[in-house]
Chain length 134, copies 2
DNA sequence: GTATGTGCAAACTTTTTGCTTTTTG
DNA sequence: CAAAAAGCAAAAAGTTTGCACATAC
């Protein structure tokens, strides 16, 4: 709730809709449409436009970020305190697993120094078959 | 022209439009709209729908692949014989530079063995400031 | 109470599809 | 010439926006 309290202190209102969106994004990367569908099923009153506006809002505060799994939809995931991670996306069952890479530092260093490119954000997605689906 | 000849032998027609799309994708990652705009400017007769259908066609033969720079548009790039590469995307000038990573093998090995996830494709994009824009 | 945020409807952007006409081989 | 691909127009997805109404604080 630390993030939510912070936003409130900043003078923003934590509406029921924002909270619902926030809570769902905590669980796993999700699209606007998935959020809309899930909440409607639960009988919640929420509009797609509000979901998109919530995204903008949370992105501004770096509470969520956009990611893309090459399926034509934008997905959003939480930005927590945890180490920057990436995704394993199973083509069979659709499972999305977070992964933290031991060799990542070497990689970023390689880019920053050898290429002299100042990286401020990066994304890595790995597509294939998960343990269960192989 | 090896790829083009291969397609012809497969019984496909290499139309003027397909060739135009093919040639542009050879140069750099590009969107449907950019291709359309460029070709129209050159006075070529080509329809957006045909561009999208060319994409599907070339993707089927793994001659191009889809990539995503988180700007809401799908981009396509050539799949050549060159080593699998990734992208440095400058937020200032929009430059896209290909990069081949020394430490990539270690990374993929890490995923395949430690996570037991069979990677068949992956994408990495690095956002930031290029040498000139820093 | 009032400013901020939501709902709704319409617009906009990107991509896809059905059908007719054109063109490649 | 016949099959394959392109053009055109309309539709489908996904996302954004203006404005009236609702609500968090």
């Amino acid at each position: 709730m630390i993030q939510i309290d912070y936003l409130r202190k900043k003078g923003h209102r934590i509406t029921k809709q924002r909270k619902l969106v926030y809570d769902l994004i905590q669980k796993k990367p999700i699209t606007a449409d998935e959020i809309h569908f899930l909440l409607k099923k639960q009988g919640q009153r929420i509009n797609l436009a509000s979901i998109y506006r919530s995204f903008d809002f949370f992105i501004t505060y770096k509470i969520i970020r956009e990611i893309n799994f090459l399926d034509g939809k934008k997905r959003y995931e939480r930005v927590g305190n945890e180490k920057h991670h990436h995704h394993l996306i199973c083509r069979i069952c659709g499972l999305v697993e977070d992964i933290i890479l031991i060799n990542e530092y070497a990689l970023l260093n390689e880019i920053n120094t050898i290429k002299n490119f100042a990286v401020d954000h990066h994304s890595m997605e790995f597509f294939g078959k998960c343990q269960n689906c192989q």
